[in-house]
Structures are given as structure tokens and as C-alpha cells.
Symmetry: C2
């Protein structure tokens, strides 16, 4: 991972998408692809694809394009997916349990090793063979095991304190499903999954589209406008 020039967040966010498309091509036994072809599939410009990739090196060949398998493996290395990562889940509620049961993470090398909760009814249980511990045991666990990422699936009210503790105990990555923005030291990385926020932007876009259609309808033929939402169901 050369870190000579800073890679822009926009590029980093596109990397998993490239990785996914190349994986699909690989499964379809396609051996080579040009930026133009990939551009058509992914709905981004060929120029952007070439720019993005060239942040990390020249993976293609003039007149040929890119070798799918080679590029796939290079992106895999860039993303750091050629290793295993140990994760813990903090908060064994609905979402925490769902993530533990979601076996696809493991296939990618993301291994959930333990779950922590405060609920006595959960502590001592196992989920998909993974033990649920008392949060009080978390400090000891982290000091005796290598924890790369903590998955935070606990209530808003508790998230800040736990994130603070985890940072203190040396956890460097937090995947935050709690609906708060965490305040952590600069050397701790947080990736937020704010589901409610995501849903709200979807709702905004639906309404925006609808009100535009409205205007178009009105302009076009003055038809009465059917409401998109019916409060009485």
C-alpha cells in the first residue's frame, strides 16, 4: 500500500464496487476488459475508471485493456483483502445478531470472534457458535486477543462510552451502526452505517421525483394529481 499521494475518499468508496464487478466478470470466465466496456457495465465514465486505477498503478495494457483476474487480485490487495480480520460485535440485539448470522463476511475474511452485551439472558449463549460475553469482560478480551474491528450495534445512549473504551484499549476500527457520530482519536477509523439517514435520503428523493412529475404533469396536460401517499393505507 504505497501512500505517496493521498487517495481521495471518492476513489476509495468506488474500490469495492470495482472489486465486485471484476469478481462477477471472473465468474463469467471473461479474461479481459477495456475501460470502455467496464464503463458501460458500471455506468461510470471510462476516463474515471482509468483515473481511479492509475492512483494505484498501471494495471492495463495499451491496445488490450485490463486482464480481469490480474486486476481483480490487485484490487484485492489494495483493499487489504488478502488477510483475515478479527471482529467483535458490541450489542447483541437484532442487528448485531443478524450480522453474526450473515456468513458472507466470513467468506471475505472478516471473522466475528465474539459478541458482547449487558443482557443476562444473552450472556453465555452462542450465536452461530460464537459466544456472547458480558461487556465487563470486554477489556480483558481485547487485551488477550487481536481485535481489528469492533462492530457497534448498541443503543445511541451507550455508544459514545463504549467507543471511548474501545479506543482506549487499542481497537483501531469501528463499524458504527449506532445512530450517533462518534468522537474518537485521530488514529481510530470509524465507518458509519446510519440506516435511518439512508432511508431518509431515499424518501427525500422519492418526494423530489414525485413533485417534479407533478410539475411535468401539470405543465403537460393539467391532469389532477394523484397523491403518492395515502395516510389511511
Amino acid at each position: 500500500m504505497d501512500s505517496e499521494k493521498r487517495i481521495s475518499p471518492a476513489v476509495i468508496n468506488r474500490l469495492p464496487r470495482y472489486y465486485r464487478y471484476l469478481g462477477d466478470l471472473l465468474e463469467s470466465d471473461i479474461t479481459r476488459i477495456s475501460s470502455k466496456e467496464l464503463s458501460a457495465k458500471m455506468n461510470i465514465t471510462a476516463s474515471q475508471i482509468r483515473q481511479d486505477l492509475n492512483n494505484f498503478g498501471g494495471f492495463g495494457q495499451q491496445g488490450y485493456g485490463y486482464n480481469v483476474e490480474y486486476l481483480y487480485n490487485e484490487i484485492k490487495k489494495i483493499l487489504g483483502l488478502d488477510r483475515l480480520y478479527n471482529m467483535i460485535v458490541v450489542g447483541g440485539g437484532n442487528i448485531g445478531q443478524a450480522l453474526v448470522n450473515y456468513t458472507n463476511f466470513e467468506k471475505r475474511g472478516f471473522v466475528i470472534k465474539a459478541v458482547f452485551d449487558t443482557n443476562p439472558r444473552l450472556i453465555g449463549m452462542t450465536i452461530r457458535g460464537i459466544e456472547v460475553y458480558d461487556v465487563d469482560q470486554m477489556e480483558e478480551y481485547i487485551k488477550n486477543h487481536n481485535v481489528d474491528v469492533a462492530i457497534l450495534t448498541l443503543p445511541r445512549s451507550k455508544a459514545a462510552k463504549v467507543a471511548n473504551d474501545l479506543a482506549k484499549w487499542g481497537v483501531k476500527g469501528m463499524w458504527n451502526f449506532s445512530h450517533v457520530d462518534l468522537q474518537v482519536p485521530d488514529d481510530v477509523l470509524v465507518e458509519n452505517v446510519h440506516l435511518t439517514d439512508s432511508l431518509m435520503t431515499l424518501i427525500y428523493k422519492i418526494n423530489e421525483m414525485y413533485s417534479e412529475e407533478n410539475e411535468l404533469n401539470q405543465l403537460a396536460n393539467g391532469l389532477p394529481i394523484k397523491p403518492i401517499i395515502d395516510l389511511e393505507d
Copy 2:
């Protein structure tokens, strides 16, 4: 929702965050706030806050700042959160069930009305009182009920066909947890929650940070480098 000038996606994505911070201020009985104070809390520039808000109108007052409750309610309206939205879950697996059980959506006006699956063991059951139907009944259900958003929590392989059907039957919003990019008509809005992608970018950033620390360490004192990851756990 005036749609005179197009609002940039960056602004739309920040709206739920403003809404959340204003809600917190409201709960703390804070009645007014300046862009400068909010800037400090949210870690964005005061300039950006004022620019963002002025896309939708002049909600503040010179010399005073913004009235928290008023601004909160304005953003609520902008996001369209002054109504109820009916949702269905397609795919009653881990994540689908977790979302059904996550009661916070309902508090915001997002109501899950039905779940659809192909698994005979699930069909006929209820989750938090919400019925699980056979996917075969989905067309009829959608034609007889108002469905604003379909939550797609089904396997990659099935997602494309289902999204296609849903679009055909008139569903305008899809909240997509399946790990594929859906191809839908222009008047259908898709918001993706690609969990694996999100985790991958976190991993990238951790590794990037680590390799930088490496270089700093090396430059600073030439200390031996402790690997961040231990494959043997």
C-alpha cells in the same frame, strides 16, 4: 418541496444529519443556535451549514442565528417526514427480520406492513405482528395496498428479478441491501446499503493509516514494526 434549482446529492446526504443534531438540541432544551456553534458540534464549516440551508430557504435571522425548533420542523418537512410511509420487506432472512424488529423506523413514520419470502417455513408466520407472505402474493398485495418503499433483503441472485417486478407493479422506492447494483427505470429510486462495501472501505482506511504510521515510525526512530494483524489470532 420547491424543485426550482436542483439540490446536490452532497447536500441531501447531510440533511438527515442536520435533522438528528437539531433533534438532540431540542431534547436538551436549547432554543437557538448559530451556524458557528452548530459548526463546532458537527465538525463542518459554518459556511457550509448556511449554504446548505439556504438551498431551501432563509431559516435564520441576522444577529440571532437559527431557532432550533423551527429549523428542526422545516428540515422535517423538507425530508418529507411529516407523513407516514408504508414499506414491505422482500426477503425474511437475518437482515430482513432484524429490520422488522427494529422499532425505531416506526417512530419516524416508516411502517413495515408485510414481509415476503419463498421459504415455506417462514410463510404464514408473523414477526413482531407483521405477516410473512409468499412472494407469489406480492403482485396482488402491491396492487391492493399503497407501498412506498420495498426493502430488498434477499440473495444477490434473486434481487434483479424482484426489483424488476416491483418496478413493473409501481413501487417507486427501493432500499437495497442485496449486494448488487439494480437496473431500474428512471422514475424508480434506489438507495443502496452495501454492507460489505462499507466494511471494505473501513479496512482500507485502517490499513492506510497503519502504513502511514509505519513510515512515520520508520522516519522518526527506525523502530521495528509490529504487524497490525496476527493471522493466527
